[in-house]
C-alpha cells in the first residue's frame, strides 16, 4: 500500500488515509492478497463491463480491437490516454477515489464500472 503515499491531493485521499491508518493490519493483509483483473476492450465493449475489486488490486485493460480506445474515469481522475491495438494500461485501485463509471472517450457508448467489495 506504499503507493497511497504518492497519491495526488484530492478530497478522497483523506478517506483513503483514514482507511489505511484505522485498518493498517487489514491493509497489509489485503495488499498481500492483491489480485490482477484483466478487462478486454473488444468489439467496442469492455469485457467484463463491471469489474469487482478489492482496494490494492490492479486492473489491466488490453485493447483487442483494430481501432484505438481509452479507459477514462467518469470524473477524469485517471485516464489511460490513447491505447492502440495490443496496448495495455494498468490501474492500481488505491482507494475509493478510483471506483465508479468509466468510459472510452473516443466511443461514448463504451462504458464500464469498477465496484469495490
Amino acid at each position: 500500500m506504499a503507493s497511497l503515499g504518492v497519491k495526488v491531493m484530492r478530497p478522497g485521499l483523506w478517506i483513503g488515509l483514514g482507511v489505511m491508518i484505522a485498518g493498517g493490519v487489514l491493509s497489509l493483509a489485503t495488499s498481500a492478497a492483491a489480485e490482477t483483473h484483466v478487462v478486454e476492450m473488444r468489439g467496442f465493449e469492455f469485457f467484463p463491463a463491471e469489474v469487482n475489486v478489492a482496494i490494492g488490486d490492479t486492473i489491466v485493460w488490453v485493447n483487442k480491437d483494430v481501432v484505438p480506445h481509452t479507459a477514462t474515469a467518469g470524473d477524469g481522475a485517471w485516464d489511460s490516454g490513447l491505447m492502440e491495438t495490443g496496448d495495455e494500461f494498468s490501474l492500481v485501485v488505491e482507494d475509493t477515489v478510483n471506483v465508479g463509471d468509466y468510459v472510452c472517450t473516443f466511443h461514448p457508448t463504451m462504458v464500464g464500472v469498477i465496484s469495490v467489495d
Binding site: F44, V66, V67, T85, T105, F106, H107, P108
Partner: protein
C-alpha cells in the same frame, strides 16, 4: 436547406448503390474490388472529417470527426496489411469511381456551409453515409467475399461502422433541427 442537402445526398447514395447492384449482377464483385470500394469508403469519411475539423467549432462535432479519422485510418491500415499478407492489391472499379464522384459533390456542399448549419449537415451526412455503407457491407460485401480472413475483416469493419452510425445518430439528435 437541411432537407435539400439530405435529399441530394440520398439520391447520390442510391445512384452508387444502383451501380453496385448492377455490378454484382454482372458476375459479382471480386474480393479485390470489394477491398477497393471499402478502402475508398473509409478515405471518403476521412475527407469529410477533415472538412469538419477545418470548419466546426462545436466540441461534439470535432470529437466525432477525430474519432472518424482515427478509426477509419486504423481499419484501412488493417485492410492494407491483410492485402499485403495475401499478396493482393485493391482493384479500381466503377462502384469506387461513382462513390468518389458523389463524395466530391457532397464535399462541395459541405464546404459552402458554416456554423450550426454546417454542423447539422455534417452530422446528417455522417448518419446517412454510415447507414448506406453498413447496408452495403452487410448485405452485399460480406456475403460476396471469398477469402475467409478478408470476410472476417469486413465483419470487424462493419462492427466499427455500426458504432459510428450510432454515434452519428446521437450527434444528429444533440444538434437538433
Amino acid at each position: 436547406m437541411f432537407r435539400k442537402i439530405f435529399l441530394s445526398c440520398a439520391a447520390g447514395l442510391l445512384a452508387v448503390l444502383g451501380a453496385s447492384s448492377a455490378n454484382a449482377e454482372d458476375g459479382g464483385l471480386n474480393d479485390m474490388q470489394i477491398a477497393h470500394i471499402a478502402y475508398v469508403a473509409g478515405q471518403i469519411d476521412i475527407q469529410y472529417a477533415n472538412i469538419a475539423l477545418e470548419r466546426s467549432h462545436n466540441t461534439d462535432v470535432r470529437a466525432f470527426a477525430e474519432t472518424m479519422l482515427r478509426d477509419h485510418k486504423s481499419v484501412n491500415d488493417a485492410a492494407l496489411a491483410l492485402l499485403e499478407k495475401l499478396g493482393a492489391s485493391p482493384e479500381d472499379n466503377p462502384t469506387s469511381q461513382s462513390l468518389q464522384a458523389s463524395a466530391a459533390a457532397k464535399r462541395a456542399e459541405l464546404k459552402a456551409l458554416k456554423g450550426a448549419a454546417f454542423d447539422r449537415a455534417y452530422a446528417a451526412n455522417e448518419l446517412a453515409y454510415h447507414q448506406f455503407v453498413n447496408k452495403t457491407v452487410e448485405g452485399t460485401f460480406i456475403p460476396a467475399a471469398q477469402n475467409a480472413e478478408f470476410k472476417d475483416l469486413l465483419g470487424v469493419a462493419l462492427a466499427t461502422f455500426k458504432v459510428h452510425e450510432g454515434h452519428a445518430e446521437a450527434l444528429v439528435g444533440k444538434l437538433g433541427k
